[in-house]
């Protein structure tokens, strides 16, 4: 490296600095908004993160003095920080587990559980897959179970349904430590983490998309947002549960609950004590007010407006504890009403 290269590097950095001297744009706000200050730490699920980030982004425009810091170390890791008091909100792609409940009680922390959106888990195949080109094509939950259950020896499409060709099914799925995997296995195989072991998992959903698009007879499952972005190359299969008609995942079917059993609600857990702080209180209220529009923007599905109202009431009443504590299998709206 001689002087000319050093000069070029120097010019690069001067250029970058000049770009950055631009300065912030000032928004016109009322006095009260400008004064609200505080720090909010949020961690947890990478699934919920895009929504939380969008909320934080809009919130910052309105209340620039409140520092909102968001991270995603995973739902489990996030809960650990939550019950250590290091975060005030935990993003969760699943309800709290009993072991986590115990730890939270041990640390004398109380939480308010709030659903914020729906994620529709989509079962996808390659768009070129000839088995599903028909408008009436579907796959049933029983067939999915046959393919994915623990110890399953299914290798070819012909073993799944009569009349299908003897082509090898290449299976793709999310990493086994993810909430998505937990949810799918519970919904399809009846038990969390119960699955066949010989599929191709990948932590990164973009890599899963690559897997399915690279293979005509592949089958995979991942979040709705990743399907939507790659609609040209993928086909999401309508799911037939029992005697109900087959339902494809769309924003409407996920919101009105007809896309079952693979619609899952996603949550935020708020520290009840910390929620007394005006900054945090305003943030959570803002979150619930805006979750419907923002979740749509980032590829998720909004909850019905009644559910948001119930959630807002839950928050203003400071109702603690989980709606799943009774173990009942009811739709979200009814659980919230109890």
């Amino acid at each position: 490296m001689n002087k000319s290269m050093a000069t070029i590097s120097l010019l690069i950095i001067i250029g970058i600095t000049l770009f950055m001297i631009k300065g912030d744009k000032e928004d016109i706000l009322n006095q009260a908004d400008k004064q609200l200050s505080g720090t909010i730490n949020i961690d947890g699920s990478s699934t919920v993160y895009p929504i939380t980030e969008a909320v934080a982004e809009e919130f910052h425009k309105k209340y620039p003095k409140v520092k909102v810091i968001v991270n995603y170390s995973g739902t489990g890791g996030g809960f650990k920080k939550f019950y250590n008091g290091e975060t005030q909100i935990n993003d969760a792609s699943r309800p709290i587990k009993s072991k986590e409940e115990t730890e939270i009680k041990k640390n004398k922390i109380t939480y308010i559980e709030l659903p914020v959106a729906y994620d529709g888990l989509s079962v996808v195949v390659n768009r070129k897959n000839p088995l599903f080109e028909d408008d009436n094509a579907y796959i049933s939950t029983d067939e999915l179970k046959k393919i994915w259950e623990p110890g399953s020896k299914v290798q070819f499409w012909s073993e799944v349904r009569d009349g299908w060709p003897k082509e090898k099914i290449t299976l793709y799925g999310p990493g086994v430590a993810s909430g998505t995997f937990d949810y799918f296995t519970k919904a399809i195989n009846g038990k969390e983490q119960a699955s066949r072991k010989d599929f191709s998992p990948n932590e990164d959903d973009n890599a899963l998309v690559k897997g399915v698009t690279g293979n005509t007879y592949a089958l995979g499952y991942f979040g709705y947002a990743y399907y939507i972005e790659n609609k040209k190359l993928l086909r999401a299969l309508p799911i037939k549960q029992g005697n109900h008609p087959a339902v494809p995942p769309t924003a409407i079917t996920i919101e009105d609950g007809s896309y079952q059993p693979l619609s899952r609600p996603i949550f935020i857990y708020v520290n009840a004590e910390a929620a007394k702080d005006p900054a945090l209180k305003t943030f959570v209220e803002f979150y619930l007010d805006n979750a419907a529009t923002l979740s749509k923007e980032v590829g998720y599905v909004a909850l019905p407006s009644q559910v948001y109202d119930l959630a807002k009431k839950r928050f203003s009443d400071s109702t603690t504890g989980s709606i799943y504590a009774t173990g009942q299998k009811l739709p979200l709206e009814q659980l919230l009403k109890q």
């Binding site: 690069i12 982004e57 620039p64 959903d205 973009n206």
Partner: protein, 286 residues
């Protein structure tokens, strides 16, 4: 001695020389392909807005300002801690340490630490810097964690560099009445500086791209503020790149590519300084 094998040996030399040349240019070719990949994806996204904006869910409005400044702060602090610590350790081990058991284990130890996956350093940083020392999710905790991560590499290459300084140089200095420390400071250190700098360059390069340990010690994926001091919360470019690469939308992948270019820019700058110093001392040494 049987016959004249000089033509054969010349031939061997031609092959060998050619092979070396081929290898070097293959390496450069691979770099070229990789860079082309990145630049073609990210070029469109580079703009003044990109450097000034906060991250956003809308690709057209998203920028890297907090992440960029976070990385600059982080690198500055890490270099500040790591370089003196590493050089001091290397000097001790090469110049002062006797060949006893303790020092043998320190040797093995350092080489071993270079292989520990970065996430374990993250765990260490979380436990010790964030919790025990109560530094919280601050730049300082992040910088100290990264320091621990890169120390072994700098120490190893510094040691090799110091070891390579001819003994004669030290003896001459001592013969003229200088103390051990004066010998080190005025003679050994300058002579080994180029080698030490190589280690510094390689390890800072590594540190700038690390994500996993930073996630563990609390670097934010999203933050709207630029850090103002070492105890502030922060984000960093590799976090932003990681976040954007994982999104489904193609626009975010382009943004990620642009952010990578920004990262490489900072890297080039840091390396530029170090390389200039190294070149300066190496020429002088010869």
């Amino acid at each position: 001695m049987s016959g004249n094998n000089i033509p054969y040996r010349r031939f061997k030399e031609k092959i060998f020389k050619g092979l070396c040349r081929l290898m070097t240019f293959s390496a450069i070719l691979i770099l070229g392909v990789l860079l082309y990949h990145i630049v073609s994806e990210g070029w469109e996204r580079l703009s003044s807005d990109f450097f000034n904006n906060l991250p956003s869910r809308r690709p057209s409005q998203a920028g890297i300002k907090p992440a960029l400044w976070g990385t600059i702060w982080l690198m500055g602090l890490t270099a500040l801690f790591a370089i003196p610590l590493a050089v001091a350790s290397a000097l001790y081990l090469e110049e002062y340490a006797k060949k006893n058991k303790l020092n043998y284990w320190i040797d093995i130890n350092i080489a071993n630490l270079a292989g520990v996956p970065s996430i374990v350093y993250g765990m260490l940083g979380l436990l010790f810097f964030v919790r025990v020392l109560a530094l919280g999710n601050s730049l300082l905790a992040g910088a100290l964690t990264l320091t621990l991560l890169i120390l072994p590499v700098i120490i190893t290459s510094a040691r090799e560099a110091i070891r390579a300084v001819p003994r004669g140089l030290r003896q001459a200095s001592l013969a003229l009445g200088a103390s051990q420390w004066q010998t080190i400071w005025f003679h050994v250190l300058p002579a080994s500086l180029p080698g030490i700098l190589t280690g510094v360059i390689l390890s800072l390069s590594r540190a700038i791209g690390e994500t996993a340990p930073l996630i563990m010690v609390g670097a934010a994926m999203y933050i709207a503020n630029v850090p103002e001091g070492p105890m502030d919360s922060y984000s960093a470019l590799p976090m932003q790149i990681y976040d954007w690469s994982s999104r489904p939308q193609v626009e975010f992948h382009e943004l990620a590519a642009a952010a990578i270019m920004a990262l490489l820019g900072i890297l080039l700058f840091m390396n530029g300084i170090a390389v200039w110093i190294r070149q300066h001392y190496q020429v002088k040494g010869k």
